[in-house]
């Protein structure tokens, strides 16, 4: 029997409840996360003051943790916009309670991922050289450079994602403004833009969301393709591959889904949203994760098979180091957490639950970070000229900054969930709540 529909006023009360006050546990968690994020800022400040030499990147590995983190966070950003856009365009009703949580992940992950090219710059104060303006010698940025592709792709994606998150937020903040006081009232009133709930506004909102979903889908695919081309355009062993762009897009959706499941599990538990984020939603997300795991395995297999069959010596050096050499523990750990664990936990119906979906997702997040590491570091450690081979080990600065980004992501998410309802109130339809 289907559960009784939740009355509208209860939906609103339940979803607005987390916005009121801050528990001691919330404050402590936020303080701890902020402290870790601050430590990362201090480490970055130290790097700016002393120089990029304090990082472990040196010849021949000039792209280390920073680029791994960059690719990882841009991948995570595909959680929201892409997933939300696909589900919106296909009119998947079950998406409604999960879209805002996903779209928020996108915005914050992009903000964090977009920082890494700056962190990696070394002389960060010269970042404005990337802006198109004529300097004293009338030299403009080189628009044919993949670095410029990144700048334009990420700027467009961030702009689109912020608007995609903001548009469906307007009706909710308009309602919140009617009940808020103080700074919240001022904030909600500004963000509501004078929303009244008229049919003209609803029509415009729905049209804009449909169009934005289509646009953002194209942009999201292009962004991770561009990130893949940063590598694939170089004639480096195991990078110069035609399937790198779709391989990266699949990996991005995979890690984004995992990030979304982890975030939703935490939100569900801490904000007591069990009636809104049901096992039905997690079941659907888990099935999607399993599908992406299989797709990821297929692409990884295809990528490695062609290299192995081609047997080109320089490529085989990197292949060997990954599969059976010094990077093999990371490689096989990646295969286990990205494929074996999700396949067992989510593929066997009896084992599939919210808890196992969260466990598998945490594994996937670790596995996808390792995947980015395995794409970048082995190739750079073993360039075509074997006399130039070298090793890479990250310094405390890189490790601190990496950990800080995870803390910053969690802190930003916590703050967002305290200011805005993490489940869209107007989109949640109690009368069509699915059977569990």
């Amino acid at each position: 029997m289907a559960p009784a529909p939740i009355p509208y006023h209860q939906v609103r009360d339940d979803l607005w409840r987390p916005l009121k006050g801050a528990s001691k546990r919330y404050t402590l968690t936020l303080a701890l996360l902020s402290a870790v994020a601050l430590w990362g800022l201090i480490a970055w400040g130290y790097q700016i003051r002393v120089g990029i030499g304090v990082a472990g990147i040196r010849r021949p590995v000039f792209w280390g943790f920073y680029l791994v983190d960059f690719v990882f966070w841009i991948g995570i950003s595909h959680a929201g916009t892409l997933i939300s856009a696909i589900l919106r365009l296909t009119d998947a009703d079950w998406r409604k309670p999960v879209t805002r949580a996903a779209e928020a992940i996108t915005v914050f992950a992009l903000m964090i991922g977009g920082l890494f090219p700056l962190i990696h710059l070394g002389r960060v104060w010269l970042f404005y050289w990337l802006f198109p303006y004529p300097n004293s010698r009338l030299l403009w940025p080189n628009f044919r450079s993949p670095l410029m592709w990144d700048v334009t792709a990420i700027s467009t994606y961030l702009t689109g994602s912020v608007i995609f998150l903001y548009l469906p937020l307007i009706p909710d903040v308009a309602q919140l403004a009617e009940h808020a006081r103080g700074w919240r009232l001022r904030l909600y009133k500004v963000l509501a833009l004078g929303w009244t709930g008229s049919d003209r506004e609803w029509h415009a909102l729905e049209r804009a969301m449909k169009l934005m979903a289509g646009i953002i889908l194209a942009v999201a695919v292009s962004v991770h393709s561009v990130v893949a081309w940063d590598f694939a355009m170089a004639i480096a062993p195991m990078w110069h591959s035609t399937i790198f762009a779709p391989y990266f897009v699949v990996g991005a959706i995979f890690s984004g889904l995992a990030g979304l499941i982890v975030a939703l599990t935490i939100v569900r538990k801490t904000m007591r949203l069990e009636s809104y984020l049901t096992p039905h939603h997690f079941g659907n997300l888990a099935k999607l994760l399993l599908l992406m795991s299989l797709l990821w395995l297929y692409f990884t297999f295809a990528e490695h098979l062609t290299v192995w069959y081609g047997n080109e010596p320089k490529e085989m050096s990197v292949f060997g180091a990954r599969v059976s050499g010094r990077f093999s523990p990371e490689f096989w750990a990646m295969v286990v957490v990205n494929f074996v664990v999700p396949f067992v936990l989510l593929g066997i119906r009896r084992l599939r639950s919210i808890r196992t979906a969260a466990i598998a997702s945490i594994g996937v997040l670790a596995g996808m970070w390792l995947e980015r590491y395995l794409i970048i570091v082995p190739t750079l450690s073993m360039p075509r000229l074997s006399a130039a081979w070298g090793r890479y080990s990250p310094s405390w600065v890189e490790i601190s900054i990496t950990l800080a980004t995870f803390a910053a992501m969690a802190a930003l998410y916590l703050v967002f969930a305290k200011i805005f309802p993490i489940v869209s109130v107007w989109e949640f339809e109690p009368h069509t709540q699915e059977e569990e």
């Binding site: 628009f143 548009l167 804009a208 169009l211 646009i215």
Partner: protein
């Protein structure tokens, strides 16, 4: 002189009936506004709001595409490189930049057109807005003062409650 009155409906069907009656009496979509706390979708022909948003988005994309191609062309010729007569502007290697900026044009136009079409920032503050109760649909009608009684009766006949003049 025109005034505004509003009535509240429990069901969408009742609101549709009221709108149909008012449309038959000569009231246009500009005189009728429905307020709700979630989108209320009516059958085609009841209260259509034609939109040019898709066209505007395509236009925004085209304008940004032309601008960015022109900009890249200008910047590449702005520095007097000695190339022995070889062209220095190449379209395809800058294709990603063109694509992203085209999409940016579409995104900004979608947002801008949403603001325009929804009338959010150009709303006439003197026009009263009824308070919306959860799960109810409110219909606001602009009519001449002498028509007030007739319209109120039409709304009530269709099942409206709390019919009254909006201050």
């Amino acid at each position: 002189m025109s005034l505004y009155l509003a009535g509240t409906f429990r069901t969408k069907e009742a609101a549709v009936q009221a709108i149909r009656e008012l449309r038959a009496s000569g009231y246009g979509p500009g005189d009728l506004t429905v307020f709700s706390d979630e989108p209320a979708e009516f059958p085609r022909g009841v209260l259509d709001r034609p939109s040019h948003m898709s066209l505007a988005v395509v236009l925004g994309a085209v304008v940004f595409f032309v601008l960015v191609v022109a900009f890249v062309y200008f910047t590449q010729y702005n520095y007097k490189l000695v190339t022995g007569g070889m062209p220095i502007f190449s379209f395809w290697p800058a294709g990603v930049v063109f694509f992203e900026m085209t999409m940016l044009g579409a995104i900004l136009m979608a947002f801008g057109w949403f603001i325009w079409e929804s009338g959010l920032l150009r709303r006439d503050k003197s026009v009263p807005v009824p308070a919306i109760e959860p799960e109810l649909i409110c219909l606001r009608v602009r009519c001449a003062a002498e028509q007030f009684e007739t319209i109120a009766a039409a709304l009530e006949n269709a099942g409206a409650r709390n019919v009254g003049k909006l201050a």
